[in-house]
C-alpha cells in the first residue's frame, strides 16, 4: 500500500448559504486546488447526504466535476449519512494507496437549510430504522436523549457537564471565522439564570437547545496525493496515516450494552493500529459532537480517557484550548456547525490546519498527530482518521 498525503485544503463558511449545492462543493475544491498548487486531479469524490430530497438534485458529482472544468476525471458521490465526509476521504485514500490514482479531490456539500427546520429534522430522522424507530417519531435528538439519560444514571454525567462542552466549543468557534455560531454563551445564561429555560429550552429531554448542533449549509475539501506528488509541492507533509471504520446495529435498542458506542471504539482502534500510534500520542482531535454528550462519550470510546471518565477530564479542562488534549478547536459540530454530509471533511480540514501550524488564535502548540471521529446514524457507521505531520 502506498502512503497518502493531504496536499490541499479548502472550506466554506458553515452557515445558511444562498447559492447552489454544486457550487457549495466546488468553491472549497477551488480553494484546495489553489492551496495545493494543482490545476487537475485524477479523480473526484463528493460527499453529500441529502441532495435528492432537500435540493432535488441527484448525480451531484457529475455537476461538480463539470462546474470545476475537471472533466473527463472520474467522479462519484459518496453517501454514508453524517459520516459521508470521512467515508469519501477513505475512498480517496484507497484510490491513492492502491496506486489507481496519484491525485484525488475529496470535496463535500450539504444544503439542508433549503428546507425548513422540521423537514430537515425528518430527513435526518430517516437514518433511523424505518419500521422499528422512524414510524414512532424517533429523531436523532431523541436517540441521543435516551442515550444521555442512561449515561447520566450510570456514570454521573450531569446537565452541567453537557453545558461545559457547549460553552467550550462556542468559545473555540469565536476564534474560527468559518464557524456557524459566533455567540459567547455561559453556564449562567444557559443553565443557572432565571431565563435559562427560555434561553435554552428542552429539545428532547434531558437534551436542551444548546446541547444540539445547528443545521448548517457548507462544504469542505481536501486533496489527497501520493508521496511522489506531495514531495514536489513544498507544503508541510501531512500524512493520512490511519483510516478505520466500523458499524453497529441499525436499531439502537438492539445493542447489548446501550451505553456503549462499539462502532466508535472499533473504528478508532483500527485507525490507530494502521497509523502505529496510540490515543495518548494525539495532540488535537475533532470529535463528532452533534450532541454535547457525544463529545464526552467519544473521548472515552476512542481511548483518550477511561470509559465513564470523559466528563471528569472535561471538568479538569484537559480538552479545552491550552489543555493536554484540545478537542474540537474548530468549535465542533456544536458551534462550527454541521453540514451533515460535509462534516467529516470539515473535521479533516481543521486537523490539517492544526498540523500545519496555520490555525492562528486557536493553534495547538507543536501539534504533530491529529485525529477525527465522524459518526454516522446514531453510531451505526463510524469512520475515524489519524493524521501525522512528517516534517
Amino acid at each position: 500500500m502506498r502512503e497518502v498525503y493531504v496536499v490541499g485544503i479548502g472550506i466554506t463558511s458553515f452557515t445558511r448559504l444562498e447559492y447552489p449545492l454544486s457550487e457549495i462543493a466546488a468553491y472549497p475544491a477551488m480553494i484546495a486546488l489553489k492551496d495545493a498548487g494543482l490545476s487537475k486531479v485524477d479523480h473526484v469524490y463528493v460527499a453529500n447526504m441529502a441532495s435528492a430530497r432537500a435540493n432535488h438534485q441527484t448525480g451531484l458529482a457529475s455537476a461538480v466535476v463539470d462546474t470545476l472544468s475537471l472533466t473527463p476525471a472520474g467522479a462519484e458521490v459518496i453517501e454514508n449519512g453524517p459520516a459521508s465526509g470521512a467515508s469519501a476521504i477513505k475512498q480517496g485514500f484507497m484510490a491513492v494507496a492502491s496506486g489507481l490514482h496519484d491525485t484525488v479531490l475529496v470535496t463535500s456539500a450539504e444544503r439542508l437549510r433549503e428546507v425548513n427546520n422540521l423537514e430537515a429534522t425528518d430527513i435526518v430522522a430517516s437514518l433511523s430504522h424505518p419500521l422499528a424507530e422512524y414510524i414512532y417519531g424517533v429523531t436523532l435528538p431523541s436517540l441521543a436523549a435516551m442515550f444521555t439519560r442512561l449515561y447520566m444514571q450510570k456514570y454521573g454525567v450531569t446537565e452541567r457537564h453537557l453545558a461545559m462542552v457547549a460553552v467550550k466549543n462556542h468559545d473555540n468557534a469565536l476564534l474560527n471565522f468559518f464557524a456557524h455560531l459566533h455567540e459567547k454563551i455561559t453556564i449562567e445564561g444557559i443553565l443557572d439564570s432565571p431565563e435559562a429555560m427560555t434561553n435554552n429550552p428542552y429539545v428532547a429531554e434531558p437534551l436542551r437547545f444548546f446541547d444540539c448542533c445547528p443545521v448548517s449549509d457548507g462544504g469542505a475539501a481536501v486533496i489527497l496525493a501520493s508521496a511522489e506528488v506531495a514531495k514536489q509541492l513544498k507544503k508541510p507533509l501531512i500524512r493520512l496515516a490511519g483510516v478505520g471504520q466500523a458499524t453497529d446495529t441499525h436499531c439502537v435498542h438492539e445493542r447489548a450494552e446501550p451505553t456503549d458506542l462499539l462502532a466508535v471504539r472499533g473504528a478508532a482502534a483500527k485507525a490507530f493500529h494502521m497509523a502505529g500510534v496510540s490515543p495518548a500520542d494525539v495532540n488535537v482531535a475533532e470529535l463528532h459532537d452533534a450532541f454535547t454528550i457525544l463529545e464526552i462519550v467519544e473521548s472515552e470510546e476512542v481511548g483518550f480517557f477511561k470509559k465513564g471518565e470523559g466528563h471528569l477530564a472535561l471538568e479538569r479542562g484537559e480538552t479545552r484550548l491550552g489543555g493536554r488534549l484540545p478537542i474540537n478547536t474548530s468549535g465542533g459540530l456544536k458551534a462550527k456547525g454541521h453540514p451533515v454530509g460535509a462534516t467529516g471533511v470539515g473535521q479533516a480540514h481543521e486537523i490539517v490546519l492544526q498540523l500545519r501550524g496555520e490555525a492562528h488564535k486557536r493553534q495547538v502548540k507543536d501539534a504533530r498527530i491529529g485525529f477525527t471521529c465522524n459518526f454516522g446514524g446514531f453510531g451505526n457507521n463510524v469512520v475515524c482518521l489519524v493524521f501525522k505531520r512528517e516534517n
Binding site: L118, D122, L131, Y136, E254
Partner: protein
C-alpha cells in the same frame, strides 16, 4: 382482531430478533426466510425515555414521549410512551395502535402505558 408486533425466530437455533433481519445474528443461518414469527410480549420495564419537542411534520402534537422497553422475555423495543411521569425501571404494558399518520400512510406500532 388483536394487532401484534412480531419477533423473528431462527428456525435453526431459536434465536429471537426484532426487528426483522435476513440472516440469523447468532448462528449465521443463511437460508432465506428461515424465521418463524412470534408475537412480542406486551409487558416489560422502561429502560430509557425522552420527551421530544421538535417533531417531524407528520406529528400534529407539541411533544411526544418515546421510550425503549425491555420486554419480559429480555427483548427490547422502541415505542411511544403514554405515562404522566415516566421513570426508568417502571413497569409498562404495550398496545398496538396508530403511531404515525400522513396523507397517504398510516403506521401501527407499540404504545406503552403504565402497567
Amino acid at each position: 382482531m388483536v394487532l401484534e408486533i412480531y419477533a423473528y425466530q431462527c428456525k435453526k437455533c431459536g434465536q429471537l430478533h426484532y426487528p426483522f433481519r435476513m440472516v440469523c445474528k447468532k448462528c449465521g443461518n443463511k437460508e432465506p426466510f428461515e424465521f418463524d414469527t412470534v408475537p412480542l410480549p406486551k409487558n416489560g420495564k422502561l429502560l430509557t425515555f425522552t420527551t421530544v419537542h421538535n417533531l417531524p411534520p407528520d406529528f400534529n402534537v407539541a411533544k411526544l414521549t418515546l421510550g425503549i422497553v425491555e420486554l419480559e422475555n429480555g427483548m427490547r423495543i422502541t415505542g411511544q410512551l403514554k405515562a404522566p411521569s415516566p421513570k426508568i425501571g417502571m413497569a409498562v404494558r404495550g398496545k398496538v395502535e396508530t403511531v404515525r399518520e400522513a396523507e397517504y400512510s398510516k403506521n401501527f406500532g407499540m404504545v406503552f402505558y403504565p402497567a
